[in-house]
Symmetry: C2
Subunit: 318 residues, 2 copies
């Protein structure tokens, strides 16, 4: 049947925690949707990411003709890494190994997230998970970014940021420079086997990769749900920072879609962000749809926007 | 002549960038003051710190009788590391190798800084260099600390913090989310060989050890001196945070000495901190005096405070 569809498309989203692949017909019919292990080239290195991509694509193509895949769009955070010729060769080689000869196009994860939620060309996207970034989208491309600087320089309001604030609040409570909070017990429970002590907490954090602080973020939303005022203040602060990043890349009164994607969406922080932003906020049901749809756009540049919008609707329906 | 002084004392300050040794008589007469390479056990590891201590003490004792050293006080950031029996054994072994049999006492760098500047028992000390910490001192010991959490969790207003703000301000200027600043050119000049670009700066920072951001702090004070408003705002913010850390460990209206030590003292940030704190701020002329003087106190516990204050004055006079 796909032969009648005149070719297939493949969309990929290379995340830090998962590699997502969607294979579809150019008409938008979903043929395979597969999730593999973490495969972001910035997080895991190009070689490991290329191997994960190849393995996940192979699973997605099970029973489908690889040589019919005519367009491939790969979305990844830190897209700049993929502009490196060695990186794009590694990815092309991985695809060739499974029989795909189409040359992949690379786009940012913000663009994929935006195009997963809507077929209109302009708007704003907020990505808030382990990292945090707001992006102004014009003609489905990044026009301007706010934050997205990584955990060392920014990512304000992200899970990393929230986890770090949880440790800071715990230490402040221990030393008496801040109010008591249930976070002290829950954070220490995660980090320490020894008695709770200021310098023990500092050492425990220093002994781990910094990014692991992101794993403490759920302790804050749990504490907030239990009525902890310190946790609630962290959630408020995180939401202020995320909404602030959005405000920096959104014109006053702008009526375009605002897309909100990432693990913080369905949390007390995400709900506060939506309240602050106001208006309609879209959340993509499936974050890899945008990559597959952009591949259709490449392959069918002669189609009208109305035809392409229909393909979008078909791709997004599950 | 030192034989008439009935014994010698040795004070050490194990910093990230230098190992400082002061050998003196119990009467406070300075016999040797020597600076070695970085030898902080937390920064460099215990073994390397012990080797650096041994080598620097050997130079300090040149021509002096090691077996006359009756008391040793070692000050270091991250004193908790030295509470580890393996660490204290490594340090004792290094001292024994150069002929010193006295068992060293370990104190925090805040306590050494405070006792370097004054002989009174109570007050506040602000350490602001690569890191940042304010400490309430009672009976010459740490009673309560504010910040000093390390670069990942805090050190707000430190050189690390200032350097990171310089990169953030540069990126904001590049992306148009913040005002133009001369920092963009000076920061890029340090970090990049390629053209100035948001993601190039992010990658350049991520490719280096985070603590190297501290080396960018002087660019901010240079830019401030040249009238740059963004740099001035960073200096103001840093000073607010440092003064805020002091306020957390100082009772309202407290009249005790406030000691300010570290590389930021003689900078536009340090001057702003002093303005905000008000009152008299002491700066130790020689940051290892406190360690040698605490060694005298150990050895001469029967002396009156007035006698010991006299020894302090002699030790601090250069």
């Amino acid at each position: 049947m796909w032969r009648q569809m005149a070719g297939l498309v493949l969309g990929a989203d290379l995340g830090a925690t998962s590699t997502r692949i969607l294979v579809a017909t150019v008409a938008g019919r979903r043929l395979a949707s597969v999730t593999g292990g973490g495969g972001n080239p910035t997080t895991h290195g190009v070689q490991r990411a290329a191997v994960e991509l190849g393995a996940t694509v192979r699973r997605a193509l099970d029973g489908l003709p690889a040589d019919e895949v005519r367009a491939v769009v790969i979305g990844a955070a830190g897209r700049a890494t993929l502009d490196d010729p060695r990186a794009s060769r590694a990815f092309s080689d991985s695809l060739a190994d499974v029989g795909i000869m189409a040359r992949p196009q690379y786009v940012g994860d913000a663009e994929v997230a935006f195009c997963s939620a809507t077929s209109v060309p302009d708007g704003t996207v907020l990505l808030a998970g382990t990292g945090a970034m707001a992006v102004q989208i014009r003609d489905r491309r990044t026009a301007r970014a706010s934050d997205g600087l990584g955990w060392l320089l920014g990512d304000e309001g992200s899970s990393f940021w929230i986890g770090r604030e949880a440790v800071r609040a715990s230490i402040a409570a221990i030393t008496g420079t801040g109010p008591a909070t249930v976070l002290t017990a829950s954070v220490a429970g995660r980090l320490l086997s020894e008695p709770v002590h200021r310098s023990a907490l500092i050492r425990a954090v220093a002994a781990r990769p910094p990014i692991e602080l992101a794993a403490l973020a759920p302790l804050v939303t749990e504490a907030e749900a239990a009525g902890d005022q310190v946790a609630a203040a962290i959630c408020e602060d995180a939401a202020d920072r995320l909404a602030g990043s959005v405000a920096q890349v959104r014109e006053p009164g702008e009526r375009t879609p605002l897309v909100f994607s990432g693990s913080l969406v369905r949390t007390p922080v995400g709900r506060r962000v939506v309240q602050r932003i106001g208006g309609e906020v879209l959340t993509p049901a499936d974050g890899v749809v945008g990559a597959a749809w952009l591949a259709v756009r490449h392959l069918r540049s002669g189609w009208t926007e109305s035809q392409l919008a229909h393909v979008h609707a078909v791709l997004a329906a599950r």
